[in-house]
Symmetry: C2
Subunit: 313 residues, 2 copies
């Protein structure tokens, strides 16, 4: 039986018709309307109706970028969608006439990687998605851990630097401020600004302007072997490894799966990550080291995970 997974982000709604092996057999996407929650729900329903045409669909899973309640019905807060206490599950179910479940988008993506991606077979798994911020998902003993209120696995908001950089969440020093696309740019632009010779290649790739340096330029320079760009990945990878060591102290997973835009840099990032993780883990040397793997499903993880959660609702 087929299910549908919907990934609702701030800019687009991506959806897929998914079989029981996690294969997306049909897909669609539309821009996220910026207006009311009602409009977004209409777009979700339109995607579902399009995908369900001519086939039998069992249920719909929706991954949304926000706090989702433990009963998987309601989005408490979704900053990018300006939602508050939005009863998404029932509203969409009423529109499409199918059972729905709602899940935090990072949790849905983590579940996708656990069931069909890099994490399959590892029942103790932490997925860390490093993009503009850090998303996380935690699977322990084969169960997605959502916490008492459904708000767990917000790993990007562990404090790693007391009184450190401001975070969009209102706190300071959150992990995602030190390990994200934005943090990579902060490093690169700082070098280009204050160490002109060291940052020469970065500045050149930025068209001579510090603000012209974007993540793609840092990755390109690092691939060329530019020491300044490699240093940027060393710093960001170091923070990633440190936060993973903190998570491993608490959760003791068998593997970490790393996804998101920053992880596209592959070994440039993985090398400092693995090194720092192994160095900073408490009890290192007296315990098995968790594997560090790259995500396999890319942007499809959320769709595939949400569809599978709908199947096992």
């Amino acid at each position: 039986m087929l299910t549908i997974g919907v990934d609702v982000g701030g800019t687009k709604v991506a959806a897929g018709l998914v079989d029981e092996k996690g294969t997306i057999v049909r897909r669609t996407r539309r821009p996220t309307p910026s207006a009311s929650p009602d409009d977004v729900e209409d777009v979700i329903a339109a995607c579902v109706t399009e995908l369900a045409a001519g086939v039998e669909v069992e249920a719909v899973g929706i991954g949304a970028a926000g706090f989702v309640t433990a009963d998987r019905s309601t989005v408490l807060v979704a900053p990018n969608l300006s939602w508050r206490d939005e009863p998404l599950r029932d509203d969409v179910a009423a529109r499409v006439g199918l059972p729905c479940v709602v899940e935090n988008d990072a949790n849905a993506a983590a579940w996708g990687e656990y069931r069909f991606g890099a994490g399959r077979g590892e029942d103790f798994l932490v997925v860390v998605t490093v993009g503009t911020g850090i998303g996380g998902g935690v699977v322990l003993d084969g169960a997605l851990q959502r916490g008492r209120s459904g708000l767990g696995a917000e790993v990007g908001h562990m404090q790693v630097v007391p009184g450190g950089r401001r975070c969009g969440c209102g706190q300071r020093g959150c992990w995602e401020q030190y390990c994200s696309g934005r943090a990579l740019l902060l490093e690169a632009r700082e070098i280009a600004g204050v160490q002109r010779e060291h940052g020469r290649r970065l500045l050149e790739l930025g068209g001579g302007r510090i603000e012209g340096i974007e993540a793609v330029e840092v990755t390109q320079a690092a691939r060329e072997g530019d020491p300044a760009a490699l240093e940027c990945f060393e710093v960001i990878g170091g923070w990633l490894g440190q936060g993973m060591a903190d998570l491993a102290a608490v959760l003791d997973p068998g593997a970490f799966v790393l996804g998101g835009g920053v992880s596209d840099a592959g070994e440039l990032l993985l090398d400092p990550v693995r090194r720092t993780f192994a160095e900073r883990l408490t009890g290192t040397g007296n315990r098995p080291l968790a594997q560090v793997l790259l995500a396999e499903l890319g942007n499809d993880a959320g769709i595939v995970g949400a569809a599978d959660l709908a199947r096992h609702r």
Copy 2:
């Protein structure tokens, strides 16, 4: 049916005969022999034999201060007992002729508080035991979370200060170096050493010597309203609240239970803890706040928890 819980620490072995309601109906304790693991196992067996005299016992649960494998058979490392790869479960089972399970002592204590103490009824629970260090235990959805290798819930070894104070685990900046009996003393002695007027009462209680100030003096001075001593609890309680906010970001528990010697200070500690936790939690204001409770079972938590784990082995 009765089970026996044994709490094996660096200085003493404490054991109890426990009924299905978590009541210790008979108890015993002996000094921990400092010599070989064999001698410690003999002492555990002697405690069990003494408690089991004349009654029918179903199983034995042993809580030990060390890394315990996921199959709950073997102590990988126990610094205070100089154990390495010690097959404790089978060695003790052979001596006493009863089924055994081995658990990390902090996990066993957390399970005790969950089943019969301050945490009963809350299926998403984090127990933080603040003594000379920090021990932890995590219950999610009613299950004790031990991690892939049995080494989870080592919450005291999350890094809270990059490059901070050295820790016995080999790392730097671990939570327990900022929030423990030792950290409280560091604060009090620093004040007494460099702010003589501010620290006058602390120094007086220490018999005029900085090294004479112990935790009991800091608590006494704080109860008298001494500003310097209150400041010490403010600092330690602040770190406790911050670390709990970090754990809540990841685990989203419904309650924290605080135990251990430092928590004997009660409201002196709880006030700054609750305040900092509520301030520092990511998404605060948009989510329910976990309850912050004091442990109820004291030093019996480990015995009661180990006995119950043996019952449900």
